[in-house]
Assembly symmetry: C2
Homo-oligomer: 304 residues x 2
């Protein structure tokens, strides 16, 4: 049974101090699916694009064993667009443009053959849409969800309803503090565990990630990259590597979920080394596994 992914597909204009690209392949579902494709197949993609979505991007997704039966292509519609500019310190970015396009009226339909999928990744979109997808699924077993400040502030009630049905929530540190209304990250995390998810994973960018459950705290390092070209999609890529590995192994033990965090971090480190999805297009399993082991070594310390 495939891994179900829902989220945005988009066309991105991104500029950094190093480079500038236009009409690049983007969107949460794109990054999630491509990262997950290194671990498992098929990926069942639920999303929407306009008629302007390039054929080459469709081909690229299909090459990665991403099933597009659930991708709506709206005749005459315009694909979701995002434009952003990164500063010299790549941790700081301005959003220059967000055009919803066909996303404005998106009504996600999960094809029959997808509905049995038990591993589900709800990419960062309106929690109302995330819930609509979840309601079409017959046997959810591992529901991973991402969200953002915009929905926490603007759709809190809908998000809280959704969280009761989420197993693993993946958000960043400022979103964690915002959702819990608590500045201490650990207190905030414990509060969020009371809202539904059994596990919270906090993405901290260049500071790594934290996994928090009722009984466990696991701190994963970030890969010490000297060349970061484009941070766009890193968080989605993390989620994709994470759930891709879980789906491959079908093992939801806490030790395996820790390994999934490291695989998520591994994929994110590849993502930011190139523009758009370029860093995810042709990695090879050997490089994935090598970097995974480097990650493990980063925090290794003999107790004596």
């Amino acid at each position: 049974m495939g891994l179900l992914v829902v989220g945005s597909l988009g066309l991105d204009d991104v500029s950094t101090p190093f480079h500038k690209i236009e009409n690049a392949l983007g969107g949460a579902a794109t990054y999630i699916s491509m990262a997950a494709s290194y671990f498992t197949a098929p990926i069942y993609l639920v999303g929407v694009v306009g008629e302007d979505f390039p054929k080459e991007y469709i081909d690229l997704l299909e090459e990665k064993n991403i099933d597009l039966e659930g991708l709506q292509v709206i005749a005459g519609g315009k694909t979701f667009r995002w434009a952003g500019k990164y500063h010299y310190d790549l941790n700081v970015r301005d959003t220059l443009l967000t055009e919803l396009g066909v996303f404005e009226n998106f009504d996600p339909v999960v094809p029959g053959k997808y509905q049995q999928a038990s591993f589900i990744c709800l990419g960062n979109i309106d929690p109302v849409l995330q819930m609509k997808v979840l309601n079409q699924m017959i046997a959810p077993k591992c529901v991973v969800c991402d969200t953002m400040n915009y929905w926490i502030e603007g759709q809190k009630d809908e998000l809280l309803k959704l969280l009761k049905r989420v197993n693993i929530l993946i958000i960043n540190d400022s979103e964690t503090r915002l959702l819990a209304d608590e500045p201490n990250l650990i207190k905030a995390a414990k509060h969020i565990l009371d809202l539904g998810p059994e596990i919270l994973i906090i993405k901290k960018g260049e500071h790594g990630a934290l996994l928090i459950s009722k009984d466990t705290i696991f701190s994963a390092p970030a890969y010490p990259l000297e060349s970061i070209y484009d941070p766009t999609g890193a968080g989605d890529t993390f989620a994709g590597g994470f759930i891709g590995y879980l789906h491959k192994t079908q093992d939801l033990s806490i030790d395996n979920i820790k390994r999934a965090v490291i695989y998520g971090s591994t994929m994110a480190s590849f993502c930011v080394e190139h523009f758009s999805t370029k860093g995810l297009e042709d990695i090879g399993n050997l490089r994935v596994n090598d970097r995974y082991r480097e990650f493990l070594n980063l925090s290794k310390c003999d107790e004596l």
Copy 2:
């Protein structure tokens, strides 16, 4: 042979959303010495206070096996004072007052019996004073140094001269970027290794610490504290636990230096749980070792 520590001793007024204290024991050398005292003895303290420095603080330091022959007490002089206010998010603080007092004309004199010390911790003071201390030492083997934005911006030439004689530099992430004039932390760290230190340790507060040498990168987690009362002195306490453990073990292998980073983090986690030096006054070795092991477990992940 004792461990030599130089730095400020002060009286602090600190307010946080939870509490407010005045005339509390503070200063870099105070925190360094008290943290190191859990690992080794004696500590040779070089510093200066005024006549207003309370007798009870002298007693406290002496109880911790801190040798005060190198502490100048200036008759009629006023002790260094600092006042700060932490916000609801304890990562943000305002400095309300800095009065140098007797520090303004401090001329550090290293007593004869201290001069053979081979482990030296240069707490965060003017690099000119740090150099004066170093010049009085006969056989430095492990020179650990802390500094801050103020000296990086105002005394760069003197600092660069000093760094050529430093083995291990301990600074935070923004200081690392500032000193190297480079936003990428890893690139910045490598640049700093070219300035003299063999090892750079980057303190990242709630995100842990990074150790970087020519061949090694080690990522240490932060302890997931739910109750942080007063972050004052955490960085100095880290340095004290770090060099205290190194001095105790006399082992400068990279594996042992990694353990020292975890011990430094351990001591810093105790420091911030209480006001001023309270968290360091009576810990007990069992609690130190328990928390050290908890730290190691935080980032443990079975490779499979």
